[in-house]
Amino acid sequence: MDMQAVDARELSLLAVIQGGFPLTPRPFLEIGNQIGLSEAQVIATLADLSQRGVIKRMGLIVRHRELGFKANAMVVWDLPDDLVSVMGKRVGELEFVTLCYRRRRSLPRWSYNLYCMIHGRERSQVLDHLAALEACCGLEEFPKQVLFSHRRFKQHGAHYFTQHVSAPHLLSVPPVSLQ
């Protein structure tokens, strides 16, 4: 995926909304007032960020556990490098899979490179999903680990900006990745 440069104005907007939209009748007006943008500019910028894929979605962000989906497993496989993309695409399409990434191995201890998250109401439901996933994607033969979550110490949206930054010139953060 191409990295899309995010400019200073967009960054200041993303910083202001990282905790969520205000629950007031004119949220975009309120957001704009904090960073010197008009309501229309806020709306247009959010639409543009969505269209470019910087924003994946906007709306209610739910917590699975509170909805009764108490079982959650991270499943990891060690796949040959040339198989990861094709397998990842299959796994990522399944309805019960909520995340699916290729990740860099952390060798020598951790050789896994395909990661997915499966949520269910009970552990048995997660394991049923996993069995179905392995059968349909052809993943039975590969080394894997199933890591059920136990305690949750923290879950919230990413806070990209540790301080509230009101001066856009301070937000000269280039989009970078660790690949």
């Binding site: 990295m3 939209f21 007006l29 979605r57 906007m58 990740r103 949750r152 806070h159 990209y160």
Partner: protein, 173 residues
Amino acid sequence: MSVQDHHALLTTHAGKAPLSLTAMDWRLLNTFQKNFPLVAEPYAEMGRQLGISEQEVLQRLSSLQESGVVSRVGAVLRTGQIGVSTLAAVEVAPAELERVAAVVNSFAEVNHNYEREHALNLWFVVTACSEERLMSILAEIERQSGSPVYMMPMEENFHIDLGFPIDQQQDWI
């Protein structure tokens, strides 16, 4: 599953009072995990689509947020577009787990932190404004936990996030 059983499953973050979600709450959850209206009065627009008032939308969203079902109403960014992010894990002795988890949580840049059932038992995601800041956070966690921190940055995303499919739960209402 009966409605009562279903409600019994729903507990708040703190594990206190059971939640009772109404049919309208489920409709809000099912309809607006994506496609938040980009208009001047988005909550009024949501209300129009659901056949309720703006005030009711706002009240329901507030209470869903208070009870922890909804962490926020906002935007989900694509990982890797802004800042530098990685999944990381550390092996912690059970007696030390709460202490080390608190160290990890003390960084605002940590947004998920879970105990998982494995020898590598503490898993968290760090998203920082720079690679330098990210590495200094991991180094500090390593120093305070006394164990190596393993990092597994994302290299390719295979999942298009459309929100969590909870349509299946409509039959519980």
